[in-house]
Amino acid sequence: MTTYIIRRLLLVPVLLFGVTLLIFGMLQFLSPVERTALYVRDFPKNDKAIEGLIKRYGFDQPVYVQYWTWLVGKVDKASGEREGGILFGNFGYSRSASQPVAELIARRFPNTLDLTIWTIAPMILIGIWMGVQAAVHHNGFIDQAARVFSIIGTSFPTFVFGLLMLLIFYANLQWFSPGRLSDAYTQVVDSSAFTHYTSLLTFDALLNGRFDIFLDALRHMFLPILTLSYISWATFLRVTRGSMLETLRMEYVTTARAMGLPERDVIFKHAQPNAMLPVLTLAGFSIVGLLGGVLITETVFNYPGIGSAAARAATSLDVVAMLGFALFNGLILIVSNLVVDVLYAFVDPRVRLS
């Protein structure tokens, strides 16, 4: 167990180094002038200014020196202030959003986190429920229906499904609308009367005692939640079904049946807990994936999370901002994948003891 965790921990610096190197490598596609967005707000106007900036931030230096400057930034000798340096959270300046990338992330990430939190339960629970039903009725009608559902689910591109949901529930029925909040509530939330305790909108609304805002926020999140869950259900269904079928064939299940336990208990008390191991990994990685900002879903529903910000940056070719997002994303993924792996080792004795 300890060796497993240590080996897994040793991988972290390797991954971090690799990802920074990868992102730095992609940065090299940009001209030095474009790369000044890492440090200053405005494009340099004339040749002199450009030369000055290139000298100042060492774009004429060898690549490894540039990499180091990119990592730790540059301390101004006179004022002692640090400029740039991704390790210190200075991801550069987003020219498409006219604000520093770090600020943009700080403002957008809570929305993504909010969406993630509310997606977890429907995504995982319904997916598992369908998988268990399919496995219990192996080769029966429910199993076949689940199979059809999963084929359709995996074949629906996120954006097509999202647009279809908008067509049905927004354009036709007018039940749910895209965006984050209704205009009237946006003003309330922006006013000083509304305290931002957690910066997660739904929780803040509850803490402020504004149940109407909470409901409105949920109403706006309904379609993204549905879309994200729908595209994951097929995978959860498939993994749960496979694992459940395998477990139901095991001898201890036969023993339990032979002992005369009711089928309900056999399935839900004996088989299901053991069948959940692979599903647990899948759930971990799915949540981590959601945290990274779901680019397409957020874009389709015009939801102000980091995914839609990254997509916006991409279409306006704001590469410095995109690389900032990628870096942030990479950090989240590396850390949370580590957490998932270690948690898994705690849950699964086979990993723990080997």
Partner: protein
């Protein structure tokens, strides 16, 4: 694991096995691969998948007959019927940039002149044209990206597996690093970095999809090679002094490659999907290029009036879903066939 198929008398295994006939095809592919192939061709779902795929192949081949290009030099340019911004409904009149009337048109639609069969999208781009010629774009990108990622993955994975040790360790850590970022984000970044350099075309998105698409194959082939590597005939080859590269490419690879090959051929659906997602987000081809993601992206400004303009998402969306479903149906059957728990059952 592998079904052995003795050809001579084999009293030990019983009459059944000894007398099983082995066809020419089975001998050519080997028993395990033959089982995979027949498994695919016997499942109803995968047959439906093959039919769908065949249908799209037909459309892409027959595109000039279905709707002749208006600008023969650049058939992928969707003809624009004027410049009005709001979409026009199905069956509306086609006045400018009208294609020639093909032989089937009158018989099927009963009209003498082209109308916008599936309506026009924002900017008067004909949706029907975009879908038909977009099929060619789909196969083009799908095939190129799949073949390139497959080759890179195979070469990388086999080198890593064959040499093992620290070479393997380093090469696989590089794969880990490339897999950290979510693929859509990585591809999006690389494509948007490359676009100003190469210009708006299929190439930046394709290069990006290739650059971040091969890692899966290299992992799979690595696993398969690691198991083949231990077999006696490899040892025999090594003992008589065959060169490393020859052992790898002539002895090991042909025996390990088949499952990866089948998987790769079914990945075309996924590639087309990613490509469509990219052009939906606005990365990739120039505006007006016949490509499904782009046709769908025309709908992005009309979300509030989708009620009236439903056809701008339903038809291209349906096309994309059917295309991907074709590959998924076959892929689903393949997963069953490749499932180790199913091995040995023919």
């Amino acid at each position: 694991m592998t079904v052995t198929t003795p050809t001579g008398d084999n009293t030990l295994l019983g009459e059944n096995v000894a007398t099983r006939k082995i066809g020419r095809l089975e001998r050519f592919f080997g028993p395990e691969n033959y089982r995979i192939l027949t498994g695919l061709l016997k499942t109803p779902a995968s047959i439906a998948g093959f039919v769908l795929i065949g249908f799209f192949i037909f459309i892409s081949l027959a595109a000039p007959l279905i709707i002749p290009p208006v600008t023969p030099n650049d058939p992928f340019k969707i003809p624009r019927d004027g410049f009005r911004s709001d979409p026009r409904p199905m069956g509306s009149e086609w006045t400018r940039n009208v294609p020639d009337v093909p032989f089937w048109y009158k018989a099927v639609t009963g009209k003498d002149e082209w109308v916008h069969l599936l309506g026009t999208a924002e900017g008067q781009y004909d949706i029907f044209y975009g879908i038909i010629w977009g099929t060619r774009t789909a196969f083009k990108t799908g095939l190129v990206v799949t073949i390139a990622t497959f080759l890179i993955g195979i070469i990388y994975g086999s080198i890593s597996a064959y040499y093992g040790g620290w070479v393997d360790n380093i090469m696989m850590r590089i794969v880990d690093i490339l897999l950290v970022l979510p693929s859509i984000l990585a591809v999006l970044i690389l494509a948007s970095v490359l676009t100003p350099k190469i210009g708006k075309s299929l190439i930046p998105a394709m290069v990006a999809l290739i650059a971040f698409g091969w890692m899966g194959y290299s992992r799979i082939i690595r696993g398969d090679i690691l198991s083949v590597k231990e077999r006696d005939y490899v040892l025999a080859a090594r003992v008589i002094g065959v060169k490393d590269s020859r052992i790898l490419f002539r002895h090991i690879l042909p025996n390990a490659i088949f499952p990866t090959l089948v998987l790769a051929s079914l990945a075309i659906g996924d590639v087309v999907l990613s490509f469509a997602a990219l052009s939906f987000l606005g990365i990739g081809t120039e505006v007006g290029y016949a490509d499904w993601g782009q046709v769908l992206s025309f709908a992005r400004n009309w979300i509030t009036s989708l009620n009236t303009y439903w056809y701008i998402i339903v038809w291209p969306g349906l096309t994309l879903v059917l295309f991907v479903m074709g590959w998924n149906l076959v892929g689903d059957a393949l997963r069953d066939v490749l499932d180790p728990r199913m091995r040995g059952k023919t």
